[in-house]
Every structure is written in C-alpha cells, then in structure tokens.
Symmetry: C2
Amino acid sequence: MLDAAAMRGEATPMREADQPQSLLMRFGADRPLAMDAGVALAPFQIAYQTYGTLNADKSNAVLVCHALTGDQHVANVHPVTGKEGWWEVMIGPGKPIDTDRYFVICPNVIGACMGSTGPASTNPATGRPYGLDLPVVTIPDMVRAQAMLIDALGVETLFCVIGGSMGGMQVLQWAAAYPTRVFSAIPIATASRHSSQNIAFHEVGRQAVMADPDWRGGRYHEAGVRPEKGLGVARMAAHITYLSDAALHAKFGRRLQNREAPTFSFDADFQIESYLRHQGRAFVQRFDANTYLYLTRAMDYFDLAADHGGRLAGAFKDTRTRFCVVSFTSDWLFPTAESRAVVHALNACGASVSFVEIDTDKGHDAFLLDVPELFSTTRGFLAAAARARGLR
Amino acid sequence: MLDAAAMRGEATPMREADQPQSLLMRFGADRPLAMDAGVALAPFQIAYQTYGTLNADKSNAVLVCHALTGDQHVANVHPVTGKEGWWEVMIGPGKPIDTDRYFVICPNVIGACMGSTGPASTNPATGRPYGLDLPVVTIPDMVRAQAMLIDALGVETLFCVIGGSMGGMQVLQWAAAYPTRVFSAIPIATASRHSSQNIAFHEVGRQAVMADPDWRGGRYHEAGVRPEKGLGVARMAAHITYLSDAALHAKFGRRLQNREAPTFSFDADFQIESYLRHQGRAFVQRFDANTYLYLTRAMDYFDLAADHGGRLAGAFKDTRTRFCVVSFTSDWLFPTAESRAVVHALNACGASVSFVEIDTDKGHDAFLLDVPELFSTTRGFLAAAARARGLR
C-alpha cells in the first residue's frame, strides 16, 4: 500500500529527506563530516532506527548497514510504502538477530534519501535541495558518519556489524577503519572492490537517469518533476542483476502474462516483462533519482585494497574482529570468488574467520529473502560471538 | 571513419533503408511475405551482399545469417561507418569460409534497417516510414523471406547456413523449416528459445528507447529527430551482456581513464565507463531505434520447441542436415547449456551433429572475434561437408 501522497505522485521521499519519520541525529558546524572528496560537510544529519534495548555496559549493539536501495526501516513498516521492513525475516524478537538480546541500530547512509543528508536534502547554504552540489559520497564517508552516530549514542564497541551488498562493503570498511570498535562482522554477498562489470551496470543506470529530460541536471525537485522513466529503466536493468538466470527461469520462464498467445506487439506479453515494469514503477515512487547516482558511485569507488597500498590484507592487519563471510552460489553480481578473496586476505592476517557459501538459486537478492541457511548461520555465529564477548 | 553525413548527425541509415548500397531483390504484390503476425506483406525487399561465385550446379552456396545489430555487409567496407565488414576474419579468399570455393550470400533480415523492409522503410501505403505500423517480425518470418531470396537466385539447396546469436536462431529455423534445402548448418552461440533473463534484458533496452521523448511513438523520422539517448542506453546495457566478467576485468579492470586519481564526480572516471559511452554513441549513428525494438522482439518470440508441440526434437525429425553446434565457455547470454539442449534434441533425432564448446574469456561476442578454434572448427567442418557433398 502506497501512502496517499505517493499515490498522487507527490515527492513523499522529498519530505522524508529533511523531516524523516525516524530518530534523527543532527551534527552542527562544530562537528563536520570529513569527506573523501576533500570537503568538510556541515551541518549534516543521520536518520536511524533502533530495535531492542542497549544493555548497561553497552556491549550488545548490532549495527545493520543497508544496501543501495535500502534504508533504516529494517524492521518496521516503511513510512512511504507502507510495506514491512526490508529485513523483518532477520531482525526481531526471537529472530536470528534477536532484539530481545541485541540492540539493533540501522542508520540511513549519507547520500541516501530517507533522512540522512543526501542530494535530496535541503542545502542550508541555498535553501534548495543539494542536487549534484553535494560532494560525491564514498563508502568510507558513510562509515565515518556512522562512527560519529555511534559516538553520539555512547557506544564504544559494536558487538556486530552486518550487512549485504553495499551494506557488506560498509561492514568491511568498518572492520578496516575501526578494528577495535568491531567485535564481530558479517559481510554478506559483497566484495572488497566493485568489479568492472558492476561499474558498467551502474554506469548504464546513471546514464538512463541522466538521459531523462525530467532529470534537469539534477534540479528536478525545484521543477516539480521527477525523472521517473529514466530511474525506472535503471531499476529494471539493475533488478535483472539481483536475480539469477535459474531463478528467472523458475519464476517466469517464457510464460505469457494474462494471455493465451503472443500479441505480436510491444506489449508486456511475457510475465518477466510485466514484472520488470512493475519493479520500475514501484521503485520511482519511493526513491530519489540523484540518490541513485550517488550511491551507485559510492560503490564504484570502493576499493579497500587500493586504500591500503594495493594489498587487501593490509586493510585487516592485526585485526581481532571475528568474521563470518557469506556468499551465495547463484549470485553473479558479487560472486563467491569476491568473498573468497576477502577470506584469503583475512587468513593472511591470521584473523578469526568463518566462510559460508550458501547453495541457492535466488541470486544476489538471497540476502534479503527467506534463506534458512543464512538465518542459521547468522544465529549460530552471533551466539558463539556472544559467548566470547561474555554477553548473557 | 564515419561518413560525412553521419558525422553531421544526419539519418544516413534512413537512406540505406530504402536505397541501400547493396544488391537488392524486390518482391511485388504477386509475391507477398506471409508473416506470423497474420499479415501478407507486399511489396517488400531484401538487401543482400554476395561474395565468391556460384558454381555450375549451384551447390556451393553458403548463407550467412547476421545477428541483432549486424547486417549484410559481412565482408566489405560498411557504407555508413566506413569500417570493415563484421565477419572479415571468417569470410574471404583463403578464410575459413573460403570465397575462392564457396558462394556466400548474406541478406539483411526483414525488420532491419540496411535495405531489407523494416520499420525505417517507406510504407508504400502512406509514403512515410513504417515505424510501428510494420507488423512484428519473427525469426520464421526472416527465414521465410530468405527462402524467397534463395528461390529468386535459383539456388535450391544451401551447402551451409551459418550464423551466431540471432543468426544462429535463423540457422536452427532454416534447418527446421527447410530440412531438404540445408545440407549443413553451423549455429553458433545461440539457443532454440530466448531465456527469461534475455527477454528481460531486451525489455530494458526497449523501455530505454521508448522512454526517450525523441522516440515519439516511433515517428521520430518525420520529426527529424532520433532517440539517441535512449538507444545509447539500450546499447550500453546490451553491450555488457555481450562480454564476460573476466574479459571486462582483463580489458578494463578498475583502471581510470586519462587521469591519475578519481575525480569524485559523475564523469567517466573509469575506462569501462568511457568505453561504454563510446559504444552507445557509435551505435546510434548507424542503427535505427525502431529496428532495435523489432529485432529484439523477434528474438524474444523465438521458441522452436513451442512451434513443434513443445518438443525440440520435433523440430528436427528425420533431418539429414549435418550440424556443427558451437558455444563459448564464457558466454552467459547464450550459455553452453542452451547449445547442449539443441545437441540433445538432434541426437534424439539421430542427426549428424558435432558439438564444440570453445574455451575463451571473450563472452558472447567471441563469435565475432579472432578466436582461432572457431576458425579451425568451421574450416574443418566445411571441408568434411564439402567432401560429402562432392564439391571439388
């Protein structure tokens, strides 16, 4: 169920960008965010959600890092779409990340559009949305901002940092940048650097957005329009990469949509076409097009080894963090080889690391879906880490 | 080198559509093309090129079927781009398809834009380009038209039909529809039906074209514009699928384009971005956007088993054609499993079939590239077929 404003095509995400229906941490001129682009961003804000209760010695905090099109609404009804949180299967009372036991924090990343400072936020210097005036954001920028949030919440050490895809990149960056603040880490379906093919798919998405005349150089908000067609095409292309050939074959095959025979036309004859068009339409109702440019760019730029003299092991030197690296057999966007490279680097550092490759045909999206082996892996790893941490 | 008109952005392909710089076979009202969409298309025309000499008993004709973005200019300089033919590595004197020995015919497919009747051709009923008024074209339609061309050329039996990708679909359709007219067949990097994932990628490309306001419902010719941005995005997305992750990694990796450090912007920092943008720009200078819609649709609809009661073997019952099926290890658009399914069906019919899976990292595009094993396979298979055919 979309909310009424979204149904009318109004820019509901725009309101969330400045006044989110979330917890909000504001950082003033005295606490700027040092960005990789060389800019000190101030003021800025982080919208976040929490679940469960922080214990007395503040040792049970789990930081959940969201993916490209995710946000902080991980285990509650989404304020724009009215749908359930994107990781309800994983997080809640009695769930693998058990909110009866752990205090879960999920911040919206810097550069996003659900309340943390991003291109849809109002630029205090102009009173208009930043648009492309916001410096390009990187994964380290996101993590640096999250560390400031954690500081403000009075949490010194995170019991666990977990996330999939772009979230997994943040997990790796957390472990590399703040080794003493991360007790355990679960990077899922991710990589230590974005591949050439993945940069290529992102570039197609960005070109699709920027080709839409309603994008207007990123100034569509003021014009009262949105580059819906371009962003829809970008989403459609990306969505294919989140699934697997096998999953598409099983789910749709060559079945026709509500018809007995092909129409010999450019209608959505095939179910897969109808499904993709729906994915495109639904996405543009909840997501900001410039944010799509910024977050894909952040992923493109991510290269943990390059930031450590070209050696990935250099990123994890002397780490005492306990790692559980997870990949999926049918994920061709972040194939198992990418996770294995991370595991090899961790092994080279003598780190404590478990590696689980889960056999599934669900593709990259498996980390968001009902995959029992992911749940049992997470539950078991966290239980062992809790014992080591001395959590009751 | 682009020709002067193309450099000025003029619609040179438009002129080719009606008055191609090719051999041309016109079919009048007395010889309509029976199309799967239920329409008898008349008049229509086929532009084609030939190489070599037809022998006295007309037994040495090789039909080359081109792929989605190919055309009849297989072994001569292209009249629009000024570049060499797309299969010069394969076809010519002393080449694997030796024009000193064989008579090569390559027709532009129906629905294309280089002189055979397609959406860019003038509709004789209106005096305007067909646009979307042309019935949707299918692979069987293309092959039916080619059979009429071959009839007109006085060739009863083709010594060989060969092609890759969409060309390979035509090869399979030829063998299924005209078994006694095909002595040998070489379907390369193809499938007997388009997969769900492949339909999905095509749908993204079509939506990108149709999202461009300059598409104008397919009536852009009359408006003097072209949906270049949309078609460029479609080409970029498709181009990724023609390569392999490994090839992209080897060719581009994460290398930057003419710069030492990332610019923290949306410029084409990475070589892969620059390369893809170039591919998009070059393509729109030589290709018609509506043709892109038609030919992707033709591939989507192709399903040889469905046309034979759901059994692929039904398509090849009692065939006496000699087959050589070729796939490439790194082709994820038409993976080896698709070729293997064709081979299994042929085996079930007791057909004469060789199957070669070539180990290469070049991806789907391998069929167009300098892949020595493809050349030796083709040369050897044709030599054996020529002996069986009694060619000197």
